[in-house]
Amino acid sequence: MALTRDQIAMRVAQELQDGYYVNLGIGIPTLVANYIPEGMEVMLQSENGLLGMGEFPTEETIDPDLINAGKQTVTAVTGAAYFSSAESFAMIRGGHVDLTVLGAFEVDQEGNIASWMIPGKLVKGMGGAMDLVAGAENIIVTMTHANKHGVSKILKKCTLPLTGAGCIKRVITELAFMEIKDGAFHLLERAPGVSVEEIQALTEADLVIPEHVPEMKV
């Protein structure tokens, strides 16, 4: 069966390592914070100037001067640090963040990602997304495999304006965990109960399917 949003987040969380500094985008990526393995320490970076983002505040501790990149009120963990946007993106651009998780509209087999603009809709802007995809060595994209009409978003070539070129290596959808290399998607894992054929059917890109495709453990 296709993964839920939370299950996608759970699978992403398995890629975390103790001591990782991680930037989580808005949407499913944010949920990853709920599934950090027991006893593992991870520091969340929020690109508006916070390393060590904590959970939401209570009504008593809410502070308008302490928000995350989604403009939500948050808290800071012990050992956190605040800094300017320039410093924050120095961290990101300089490759100091260990893992970045973010959503996308489309990805393609060249590692391109489109995540910020749909022509014809109001353009709100890329925010920090272009910096994140250009700066991070280690990116996981979480997205749905196809749109509601069954049109694949795992493509040979992105159709929407790009957020970054040649920068994506790993993608998790509700159906599959895939790696992009040598100009193709490689199927690493499938969602429990989802067949390789179902994945193949919803994948427009070249998909390399190994003999054995294990099921995800979520």
Partner: protein, 237 residues
């Protein structure tokens, strides 16, 4: 003499010399850490034809949203705009030009402007529309875009505390774009929550040295919250 006393007591003084068609940087991320009173004053002045450099463009009726209402902005440079409906209208009607800039590139362009760096290379935006018309270059196997720096006639920033000499400290994530903008304005005006005497701020922890700041004014801040997210008070994990 009072060479280093930068305190002004009225918003008129704070924005003396502000005119139509100027380039103005405005600190803040969303509504967090914005110079509310200075924004209000520009709104009162009614200056038009402004090039506004700000990560966001406020919301309807608050922050830069007010400048939109009065059609004060002709060009908006930001990374994420359009949290208000009016923005869309002005954009579609062509009354306003918008130059979308990746957030980190924007921050660095402003820092570079203040630091006398006219241009720098960044990988951000390579292969995207952001790179259109810009020089690109391969360096050690990666592709980069040349980005020119940004400066402004006025930089309007919001700080937590200032001393009378213009040394500034910011608070938590209300810092955001404010320190870089403070360096990049020909005239930098800091609206702050508290003004203290020189020596009261620890010189080891000044975020913005006074050399960058021309005027300081004490403001009143509403500090409106955009996304009020809380957990129940009894949940104690």
């Amino acid at each position: 003499m009072s060479g280093f006393n930068k305190v002004v007591t009225s918003y008129e003084e704070a924005l003396a010399g502000f005119t139509d068609n100027m380039t103005v940087m405005v600190g803040g991320f969303g509504l967090c850490g914005i110079p509310e009173g200075l924004i209000e004053q520009v709104n009162k002045l009614g200056s038009t034809g402004l090039t506004a450099i700000s990560n966001n463009a406020g919301v309807d009726g608050f922050g830069l949203g007010k400048w939109l209402e009065k059609r004060q902005i002709s060009t908006m440079i930001g990374s994420y705009v359009g949290e208000n409906e009016l923005f869309e209208k002005l954009l579609l009607s062509g009354e306003m030009e918008v130059i979308l800039t990746p957030q980190g590139t924007l921050a660095e362009k402003i820092r570079a402007g203040g630091a006398g760096i006219p241009a720098f290379f960044t990988a951000t935006g390579y292969g995207t529309d952001v790179a259109n018309g810009k020089e690109t270059r391969e360096i050690d196997g990666r592709h980069y875009v040349l980005e020119p720096s940004l400066t402004a006639d006025f930089a309007l920033v919001k700080a937590w505390k200032a001393d009378t000499m213009g040394n500034l400290i910011f608070r938590k994530t209300a810092m955001n774009f404010n320190p870089m903008m403070a360096t990049a304005g020909k005239i930098t005006v800091a609206e702050v929550e508290e003004i203290v005497e020189p020596g009261e701020l620890d010189p080891n922890y000044i975020h913005t040295p006074g050399i960058y700041v021309q005027r300081v004014i004490k403001g009143q801040f509403e500090k409106r919250i955009e996304q009020r997210t809380v957990k129940p008070s009894h949940q104690e994990s």
